[in-house]
Amino acid sequence: MVEIVVPDLGEDVEKAKISFWHYEEGDKIEKNSDIVELTTDKATFNVPAPETGIITELYFEEGDEVEVGEVIALIDDENEELELSEDEEEEDTNF
């Protein structure tokens, strides 16, 4: 399991707002695709997924305030479905 944590967004920034979830629970996400958009008083950021996986939990709603360092989502990077879809992709490339 890979945790999505609210990153450090500058000195004395303790909180951010979840302004947009790019995916829903159950979706497959590719490594480096943006999973969530976070907004601070100063700027808006897209946080990418560190690994490919299936999103198993989104712990907050859009509009919620979250703290720097807090876990906001979980990605299952060892899910069976991933192996299946990888196999399918391989098959596809054989055509």
Binding site: G10, D12, F20, T39, K42, N46, P48, E61
Partner: protein
């Protein structure tokens, strides 16, 4: 999506990707272990993760408390502490560990010090030049209240680029930089160009504070008259609810137009875009002006 969330979303060109990878975490760790301040963190620069991932950072010397109260900036304000001379050695160490080829050093404003902190700037630049003669050093200094001896001290310590930001158009100084002076900043840049022709001069400004296109053009003209070589233009972002609000989110096409206008006025290099900051990709700028200088010779 909640209404609340919709109202807080910025235009798509102002959403910054977080580059939280091995390189950026390592940069953060080096800075932390050497107890160095960076403007990247102190000013909550939105480019922080990107620059750290490229192993770049802008060192902020003379402490982390500023003696001025500019309304656009989130650096802590108040009564600054004594100067920590070991900062220079810490930066020299970081330059080695980060393998930097181009170092940018800035500072808080220290109107409380007789020399405005210029001796500490000069000490840091000299130390870097001695230890790493091949490394390019760029300084981004406050106005030293226009004191010529302070400006000279820094210029004579051997920086390759001397940056002093004009920040905004003349009309907005009272509102944005109440304790600075538009003409003092221009004279500052002009003094360096006149007396130290081997140093490239650079300045930057923020847009989105309520200025007009015509006012921006007259700043470009004034900077060129002061011999300024390099210009940066970026979007102002309000660091917190206590700072002045953004008047406008300027479209990337307008930044492109400003870049073309400024180039036409004769700057050696111009960088204009929503996320451009004075020190953004500073190393690339130097390569470009060097090549340009060569082709013009």
């Amino acid at each position: 999506m909640s209404l609340n969330a919709v109202s807080t979303r910025l235009p798509h060109w102002l959403i910054k990707k977080i580059y939280r990878n091995e390189a950026s975490l390592e940069t953060k760790e080096i800075l932390k272990s050497l107890k160095l301040n960076t403007v990247c963190e102190s000013a909550r620069c939105p480019n922080m993760w990107e620059c750290f991932s490229k192993r770049r950072a802008t060192f902020m010397i003379l402490g982390d408390i500023c003696s001025r109260d500019c309304s656009f900036c989130s650096v802590k304000k108040g009564v600054p502490r004594d100067v920590d001379e070991s900062e220079s050695a810490g930066i020299a160490e970081a330059v080695g560990r980060m393998n930097l080829k181009h170092v940018v050093i800035t500072s808080v404003t220290r109107d409380d010090l007789e020399d405005g902190g210029s001796s500490h700037f000069a000490r840091t630049v000299s130390m870097l030049k001695k230890r790493y003669p091949e490394v390019l050093v760029e300084v981004l200094t406050p106005d030293f209240q226009g004191k010529v001896d302070c400006i000279k001290r820094v210029a004579e310590s051997g920086p390759d680029i001397f940056n002093h930001n004009i920040e905004t158009v003349k009309r907005l100084y009272e509102y944005v930089r109440p304790r600075a002076d538009y003409y003092r900043s221009l004279d500052f840049l002009g003094f360096i160009k006149t007396n130290y022709s081997g140093i490239y001069t650079k300045s930057g400004l923020m847009v989105g504070l309520g200025e007009t296109g015509r006012e921006l053009e007259s700043v470009f003209d004034d900077l060129r008259s002061a011999g300024c070589d390099i210009l940066t233009v970026g979007q102002y972002l309000s660091p917190s609810k206590n700072n002045i609000p953004v008047a406008e989110y300027v479209h990337p096409d307008v930044f492109k137009d400003l870049e073309n206008i400024a180039f036409a006025k004769g700057f050696l290099y111009v960088m204009s875009g929503p996320f451009v900051r004075s020190s953004y990709n500073a190393d690339q700028v130097f390569d470009k002006i060097k090549n340009k200088d060569k082709t013009e010779v």
